[in-house]
C-alpha cells in the first residue's frame, strides 16, 4: 500500500512540476520542485481526487496547516496517514 501511495504522489507531483520522477528526491522542498502556490494547490487537488481523501491544507497560510509540506517525503508520509485513516 505505502509503495503505491508514494509512487502515485510522486507521479502527480512530477506532472505538476513538469519533472521526471527520477529527478525528484524525497528531501526536496516545494520550492526545489519549482512549484508555486497554485501549482501546489492543483497537485493537492489531484491527490484528493485520486485517493478520495480530504487534505487539510490551507493555501492562505501553508505553515499553519496541520499538513506537513516541508519536503516531498513529508508530503508522502502525510498522505499515507490520510489514506490509511480513510481505509479504516
Amino acid at each position: 500500500m505505502s509503495i503505491s501511495v508514494q509512487d502515485k504522489v510522486l507521479s502527480i507531483i512530477a506532472e505538476q512540476a513538469m519533472l521526471d520522477i527520477s529527478d525528484i528526491s524525497l528531501n526536496m522542498s516545494v520550492e526545489d520542485l519549482g512549484l508555486d502556490s497554485l501549482g501546489l494547490v492543483e497537485a493537492i487537488f489531484s491527490i484528493e481526487e485520486f485517493f478520495s481523501i480530504n487534505v487539510p491544507f490551507n493555501a492562505n497560510d501553508p505553515s499553519a496547516s496541520e499538513f506537513d509540506i516541508s519536503s516531498v517525503g513529508a508530503i508522502i508520509t502525510a498522505i499515507e496517514k490520510l489514506v490509511l485513516k480513510e481505509c479504516n
Binding site: 513538469m18 497554485l38 494547490v41 492543483e42 493537492i44 487537488f45 484528493e48 481526487e49
Partner: protein, 402 residues
C-alpha cells in the same frame, strides 16, 4: 484631445479562426451557424448556433496554461495575439505602463460554471478544481491578455449584455483620447454555447430554431454565436511616428440608457445614442455610408432599430447600407460588437460591405437597404456600429477612413 486609430485586429469566431478567413466568409455571404455539439443538446429546443467547430486549444496553449483558461479566455488570447502581432507593438518600459486592456463579456467563464455546477449538483461531487474561480471570473480574459503581453496600464472588464464590447471599446477610446493611455487592447469575448447558457436563453423565447434572418419579414428570433475579436487602439501620433499601418480612425462614441424596460428596446434610446455618436465624431448624417446594425433578428429589435435609423438619418436613410452580420456569425452577446467592428473596418478599408444573409422577404417595418444576401463593393468614408443591450443600455461607435 488625442485622435485614436486602429492598428491591429484579431478574431476567432464561427466564420474563421483569424481576420482574413472571417472577412472572406463575410464577403462570400457564408453562414457559420450550424447544429451545435455539446452535452445534453438533446434536451434543448434550440439546437443551432454560431459555434466554433474543430477548435483544439492544445494547438494554441501549453497544457499547464489551459487549466487557467475558460473557453472565453482562450478566444480572447487568440484574437489578442493576432491583433498585437499585426500592430507590430512590443510592450516594454514606459509604453507598457501606458497600455491596458478593456474587454466586454456578458457570460465570462460560463463554460466553467456550467461544467462545475454539473459536477457538484448533477454528479454529486464534493470537490471542484482549485482554479474554478480564476477561470470563471469575468475579468479572466482581460487579466490573461494583460499578463501575456506585459500590459500594465488601465485594465478592466465591461459587462452590459449585448452592448458589452461596444461599451468596452468606447472606454478604451476614451482612455486613449484623453491621454490616460497610449495604447489600449480592446474588444470582447464570449462563450455561452453550453447547455445552461442556451437553456437560459430558451426561457426568454426570443431564440430562433431555424436561422437568424435580420430585417426579414420571416424572422423569428436570434441565434447565438461565440468567439472574440480584439483591436489595438493607438494614439494617432504614436502610430504615425512609428510608421504603423493604420486601419481606421475611431472618430466618435456615445452611450445612452433607455431607462424603460429590462428587455424591450426603445426607439428613443437608440436614436439618442446614434445622434450623440455622430456629434461626438463631428460627422453629419450624410457622411455615413454604412451601418453595422445591432440587427438581432428579433421582431422588436429590427423594427425599433429601423425607426431609430430613419429618425436620425431622415432622407439619407434610404442611401445608407445597413447590414447585420449576426446573420452569419450569430449573436456573440458580450463579444458581438467586436466581431461586427471587423465588418466596419473592412467597409472603410476595402469597400467590402458585408451582407445580411438569410434574407427572404421584404418587411415594410424594416424598409432600409439591408444589403440582402450578397456582399457589395462600395467605397465608404464613415460608418457606425450599433449595439443595444437588454436593460436598455446603448453604445454606438463611429469610425472613419484615414
Amino acid at each position: 484631445m488625442n485622435r485614436v486609430v486602429i492598428t491591429g485586429q484579431g478574431t476567432i469566431n464561427a466564420l474563421g479562426f483569424n481576420v482574413a478567413s472571417t472577412l472572406k466568409s463575410m464577403e462570400n455571404g457564408q453562414s457559420g451557424i450550424s447544429i451545435m455539439d455539446f452535452p445534453n443538446i438533446d434536451r434543448l429546443n434550440v439546437k443551432i448556433g454560431g459555434q466554433i467547430k474543430d477548435f483544439d486549444p492544445q494547438l494554441y496553449f501549453e497544457r499547464q496554461k489551459i487549466t487557467f483558461y475558460d473557453r472565453f479566455t482562450q478566444f480572447a488570447l487568440i484574437a489578442a495575439k493576432e491583433a498585437i502581432l499585426q500592430s507590430g507593438l512590443v510592450f516594454e518600459g514606459e509604453l507598457s505602463q501606458y497600455s491596458g486592456v478593456v474587454f466586454g463579456t456578458a457570460g465570462g467563464g460560463l463554460q466553467t460554471q456550467d461544467e462545475n455546477y454539473r459536477a457538484v449538483y448533477e454528479d454529486g461531487k464534493n470537490r471542484v478544481h482549485p482554479f474554478v474561480v480564476p477561470r470563471l471570473m469575468n475579468n479572466a480574459a482581460v487579466s490573461h491578455v494583460s499578463m501575456s503581453n506585459n500590459l500594465k496600464g488601465p485594465s478592466f472588464t465591461v459587462s452590459t449584455a449585448c452592448a458589452s464590447s461596444n461599451h468596452a471599446m468606447g472606454q478604451a477610446f476614451h482612455l486613449v483620447r484623453s491621454g490616460a493611455a497610449k495604447v489600449m487592447i480592446t474588444g470582447g469575448s464570449e462563450s455561452m454555447l453550453c447547455f445552461g447558457g442556451i437553456k437560459a436563453w430558451e426561457g426568454l423565447r426570443v431564440m430562433s430554431q431555424d436561422g437568424c434572418r435580420p430585417f426579414c419579414a420571416s424572422r423569428n428570433g436570434m441565434v447565438q454565436g461565440e468567439g472574440a475579436a480584439v483591436f489595438v487602439f493607438e494614439e494617432f501620433e504614436h502610430a504615425q511616428t512609428r510608421g504603423a499601418n493604420i486601419l481606421a480612425e475611431i472618430s466618435g462614441f456615445a452611450m445612452s440608457s433607455d431607462a424603460g424596460d429590462i428587455v424591450m428596446p426603445s426607439v428613443g434610446g437608440a436614436r439618442r445614442a446614434i445622434l450623440a455618436a455622430l456629434q461626438d465624431a463631428k460627422l453629419n448624417p450624410e457622411d455615413i455610408g454604412y451601418i453595422n446594425a445591432h440587427g438581432t433578428g428579433t421582431t422588436a429589435n429590427d423594427k425599433t432599430e429601423t425607426l431609430a435609423i430613419k429618425q436620425v438619418f431622415q432622407n439619407h436613410s434610404k442611401k445608407i447600407m445597413v447590414s447585420s452580420t449576426k446573420s452569419m456569425h450569430g449573436h456573440l452577446i458580450g463579444g458581438t460588437g467586436a466581431v461586427e467592428l471587423l465588418a466596419c473596418i473592412a467597409a472603410l478599408k476595402d469597400g467590402m460591405i458585408a451582407p445580411t444573409i438569410g434574407y427572404q422577404e421584404y418587411d415594410p417595418n424594416c424598409d432600409l437597404d439591408v444589403v440582402p444576401n450578397e456582399a457589395r463593393q462600395q467605397k465608404v468614408n464613415a460608418v457606425i456600429s450599433n449595439a443595444f443591450a437588454f436593460g436598455g443600455l446603448n453604445a454606438v461607435i463611429a469610425l472613419s477612413s484615414i
